[in-house]
């Protein structure tokens, strides 16, 4: 993506990572509460969320090509 400024690009990448981790943590916490398996849900989903955040960043940075461009 051709963002016009480096600042916007940097900001985009950082929010992508944070969003992934936050979603993982939130989902893990909810699953813990519903199933009463604390702290395993949080541990597993935090790691999955981190991986998802890294994937987001790599997609946004164009390291991994976007799905839609693969075909």
């Amino acid at each position: 993506m051709a963002d016009a400024s480096a600042f916007a690009r940097g900001f985009r990448l950082s929010t992508e990572l944070v969003a992934g981790v936050l979603v993982g943590a939130g989902l893990g916490w909810l699953i813990d509460r519903w199933l009463g398996i604390s702290p395993w849900g949080l541990i597993v989903f935090l790691m999955l969320g981190f991986a998802a955040g890294v994937l987001n960043v790599m997609r946004a940075a164009g390291v991994v090509r976007d799905r839609q461009l693969n075909d």
């Binding site: 993506m1 963002d3 016009a4 400024s5 600042f7 916007a8 900001f11 985009r12 929010t15 992508e16 944070v18 969003a19 992934g20 936050l22 979603v23 993982g24 989902l27 989903f45 999955l48 969320g49 991986a51 998802a52 955040g53 994937l55 987001n56 997609r59 976007d66 799905r67 839609q68 693969n70 075909d71």
Partner: protein
């Protein structure tokens, strides 16, 4: 003291419009700015396209320019089929752009600096992608989460990561716009506060020294104008990328 940098984001109740349960619903300065944006945009487009002369007036070329800009963005990211979402993306882009720009007017209010607004817009985009994708492709839409050519033994892990990545979209989508507008306006206000502090603290010398932060405000204001446009553009282009997933999932 005019130096409180958060004061500018305060929601002011103007008059009550409805009452749900024990909660009064107020018409606020935020609603006022949104109404101004909607009416201003409608007037701009209606008047701009009213004459449709071959040699366009200034207003008409501005309207045509904004159409062309959004149309090119959509075709570039979501393909020709994405054009069926043109009204949606165009409305989002122009609405966010206008609110960002209105927020730059001194003594005005920046609607997009409140996360509830940007989150509502991002969730709207998210639900549009989800509902349209499911309607159009049925359960094949979930192929989105299953990348091709992945060995079967790590597939469950990858699918989990893809799903989390998908769910995290509205968060990064909304936080980016909100945080940019919030941070920019706080920075401006802090530098403006320096002038007052210098002047009040050091008298004449302070007022002369205040030229430095003032020069900084001029530069920052130019940057903020760029950011206001850029963030509206980024919001629109990400909307297109997400919509593209609804139109062509997986493969």
């Amino acid at each position: 003291m005019a130096a409180d940098p958060i004061h500018q984001f305060r929601i002011v109740d103007l008059f009550p419009v409805a009452k749900i349960g024990s909660t009064e619903i107020y018409f606020t300065n935020s609603s006022l700015l949104m109404l101004v944006a909607v009416f201003g945009l409608t007037a701009f487009l209606v008047i701009g396209t009213a004459r449709r002369s071959l040699v366009p007036s200034r207003l008409q070329s501005a309207a045509e320019l904004s159409y062309e800009f959004v149309a090119t963005t959509i075709r570039g990211t979501a393909g020709a089929e994405g054009m069926k979402f043109f009204p949606f993306v165009f409305t989002l882009f122009m609405f966010v752009l206008t609110l960002n720009m209105l927020g730059l007017i001194p003594y005005s209010f920046t609607v997009t600096s409140h996360i509830i607004i940007t989150a509502a817009l991002a969730i709207m985009v998210f639900l549009t992608v989800l509902i349209y994708g499911l309607m159009r492709h049925g359960l094949h839409f979930f192929n989105l989460f299953v990348p091709k050519g992945v060995p079967i033994y790590i597939l469950p892990l990858i699918v989990g990561i893809e799903i989390l990545s998908f769910i995290s979209r509205p968060i990064s989508h909304s936080v980016r716009l909100f945080a940019n507008m919030l941070a920019g306006h706080i920075t401006l206000q802090v530098f403006a506060g320096f002038i007052v502090l210098l002047g009040a603290g050091l008298g004449a010398v302070g007022w002369i020294g205040g030229i430095l932060p003032f020069a900084m405000i001029v530069i920052l204001f130019a940057l903020e104008t760029l950011v206001a446009f850029l963030q509206a553009y980024v919001f629109a282009i990400l909307t297109c990328i997400y919509l593209n997933d609804a139109i062509h999932p997986g493969h």
